[in-house]
């Protein structure tokens, strides 16, 4: 197990280096002049020269890449051109909002997916099953920002019970969590629908296994068969998907964070892209990729807990 983790971490680091190279190349080499990208076409020659020097463009790109990635290994992600602050600091404070938001959204999604998906699988073909699967299709089709819009309309404007946006920061204990409720819910509906379908199909195929038939023929009560024998191994694909969902949520809640004015990674990404803040975009993509790789590793490690037949070598 220890060796497995070390090998996976080494693989993940290599992947990260590859990603950093591709991202650096596409932002700095492919389209031509990154300084022109940053300042725009109308900028004065002085400003252009200043930005060029700041980006270190007087050196060959391979040296620039090496000095950037060298800094990354020492925990220095560079400095944002737009905010004039270290990228690491900006990403850290955005992550402090995006991480709980993604967690809350995933929790809500799973809370929807499990009871609905499991019940639909147990009563496959019933009216309940058809209803849940139909609703999940609608959930998958609803764009997050439209859902968020409807939620604001209902809970903030009509009922006035929940804040429509903004985030006050973590200074006041856990009370700011209420600001994350509507955004988390808008994110949770489509993902919950996806995971509910996953729970149902995974559970259905597990229930066709021979050992389930053995358990049933021994006279094990159906509820016990479902929870004790079928659920744990059926969870494996669900955990994989939940991991991917969580990883994607961290830096992928771009639209919802913008709708609700949540100062998370998604909002930071959009600002960075619109301001053509190349160091910040680079840093954000690298952090997002690292987070995704870690979450996927965590999901893979949980398989051993779920299914005792799985061993890591």
């Amino acid at each position: 197990m220890g060796r497995y983790v070390v090998r996976r971490l080494a693989g993940a680091s290599l992947t990260l280096v590859a990603i950093s190279f591709v991202v650096f190349l596409s932002l700095n080499v492919l389209p031509g002049d990154p300084a022109r990208l940053v300042v725009g076409l109308e900028a004065s020659p002085e400003l252009y020269q200043k930005v060029r020097a700041e980006l270190g463009l007087d050196r060959p790109w391979i040296l620039r890449y090496l000095s950037w990635i060298g800094g990354v290994f020492q925990g220095d992600l560079g400095k944002s051109l737009h905010y004039r602050r270290p990228v690491g600091e900006l990403v850290g404070s955005a992550l402090a909002v995006s991480f709980p938001l993604a967690g809350l959204a995933l929790l809500l999604a799973l809370a929807l997916a499990f009871p609905l998906g499991a019940t639909a699988a147990r009563r496959a073909g019933s009216a309940f099953d058809v209803l849940v699967m139909g609703l999940s299709q609608v959930g998958l089709a609803v764009p997050e920002f439209w859902l968020g819009f409807l939620l604001i309309l209902l809970f903030s404007l009509k009922l006035g019970t929940l804040p429509a946006g903004g985030f006050p920061g973590w200074e006041k204990g856990l009370s700011p969590l209420i600001h994350l409720l509507l955004p988390a819910f808008s994110l949770a509906i489509p993902r919950g629908a996806y995971l509910a379908r996953m729970v149902r199909s995974s559970l259905l195929s597990t229930l066709q296994e021979a050992y389930i038939a053995v358990a049933r023929s021994k006279g094990v009560p159906e509820r016990w068969v479902l929870f004790k024998h079928a659920l744990r191994p059926a969870l494996i694909p669900v955990v994989t998907s939940a991991g991917i969902v969580f990883g994607r949520l961290l830096a992928g809640a771009i639209v919802v964070e913008n709708l609700f004015y949540i100062p998370g990674l998604g909002r930071l990404v959009l600002t960075a892209v619109l301001a053509r803040d190349i160091p910040l975009v680079q840093g954000l993509v690298l952090v997002a990729a690292g987070a995704i790789l870690l979450v996927n590793l965590g999901a893979d490690l949980s398989y051993g807990l779920l299914d005792p037949r799985i061993r890591y070598t």
């Binding site: 992947t15 990603i19 991202v23 596409s26 932002l27 492919l30 389209p31 990208l37 496959a124 073909g125 099953d129 058809v130 699967m133 299709q137 609608v138 998958l140 089709a141 609803v142 764009p143 997050e144 920002f145 439209w146 819009f149 409807l150 604001i152 309309l153 404007l157 259905l204 991917i244 990883g247 994607r248 949520l249 961290l250 830096a251 992928g252 771009i254 639209v255 913008n258 709708l259 990404v269 959009l270 892209v273 619109l274 053509r276 190349i278 975009v281 993509v285 997002a288 990729a289 995704i292 790789l293 996927n296």
Partner: protein
């Protein structure tokens, strides 16, 4: 139940396609022309979806926006399918390091947040239709690649391939004529579902101001603009969103229905 998906899906897709065809030729009012005296009118007989803050007819704008979204989604999905097929064939036929590398690229793209990928492309190529098509193509590529790869790996040792080889067919001919057509069913299913997601992505990018540019209406940007008038004219956001939901739902259901139709194992599976 599966037949139900196919039926409802076909129905919604026909409506969506019809709206796109109508929208590119005719709309009840000029979707770009403001009539200030009619601003903020709620839905009524003369304006079934109401009017917006400039007095533009929302129904006309929803109709005019539909061919734009469909065109971008179709181009993106086709590009993704083509690229995925090439990569899938490459990774299936060239084993060893090459195959591993292509597989790695496909999986890497797959685990990345699609919108983040799209934003990266926008940074490089600038906002607009081309970037959105490229982004949609890129994050759809792995799905098509995996289907093609799996199908080829499954079939390449079968007798009919050996027979073709015995007749003197080369590797390329075997791949294109004998192997690839078998993947057609799953590819069509994937294209249908991918189309729904492509519509959603186009709307999301236009919502962020990075997709379809003004003055052309798009469902995503209509929602963005409506956000400011959320309390005064909620219908300006409700109807474009509803159109989007019905279109995406239609393609998702159609994909689902087609899948169970094309895969006999799914059709006869007793739950």
């Amino acid at each position: 139940m599966r037949n139900l998906s196919l039926r409802i899906g076909t129905f919604l897709c026909v409506i969506t396609a019809a709206a796109a065809v109508v929208g590119s030729w005719w709309t009840p009012y000029d979707p770009l022309h403001p009539e200030t005296e009619a601003a903020y009118a709620p839905p009524s007989a003369s304006h079934p979806f109401g009017t917006d803050w400039f007095g533009r007819d929302v129904l006309s704008r929803v109709l005019a926006a539909s061919p734009v979204g469909m065109r971008i989604a179709a181009a993106g999905v086709l590009a993704g399918c083509a690229a995925g097929m090439v990569l899938g064939v490459l990774s299936a036929l060239s084993g060893g390091l090459w195959g591993e590398a292509v597989g790695g690229i496909l999986n890497g793209v797959l685990s990345f947040p699609p919108l983040l990928l799209a934003l990266l492309l926008v940074t490089v190529f600038g906002p607009g239709e081309g970037s959105v098509i490229l982004a949609v193509g890129l994050f759809n590529m792995p799905y098509f690649g995996r289907i093609v790869r799996a199908e080829i790996l499954k079939l390449r040792d079968r007798e009919f391939v050996e027979a073709a080889r015995a007749c003197g067919a080369g590797g390329l001919r075997i791949t294109l004529v004998h192997l690839l057509p078998n993947a057609l069913g799953p590819l069509v299913v994937q294209m249908t579902s991918a189309f729904g997601f492509a519509l959603l992505s186009e709307a999301a990018l236009s919502y962020l101001g990075l997709g379809t540019q003004p003055p052309f209406p798009s469902w995503g940007r209509m929602l963005k603009e409506a956000q400011t008038y959320i309390a005064l004219a909620p219908w300006t956001a409700i109807f474009p969103g509803l159109a989007l939901v019905l279109a995406v739902l239609g393609f998702n259901l159609l994909g689902d229905g087609l899948q169970s139709r094309l895969d006999p194992r799914l059709r006869h599976r007793k739950p």
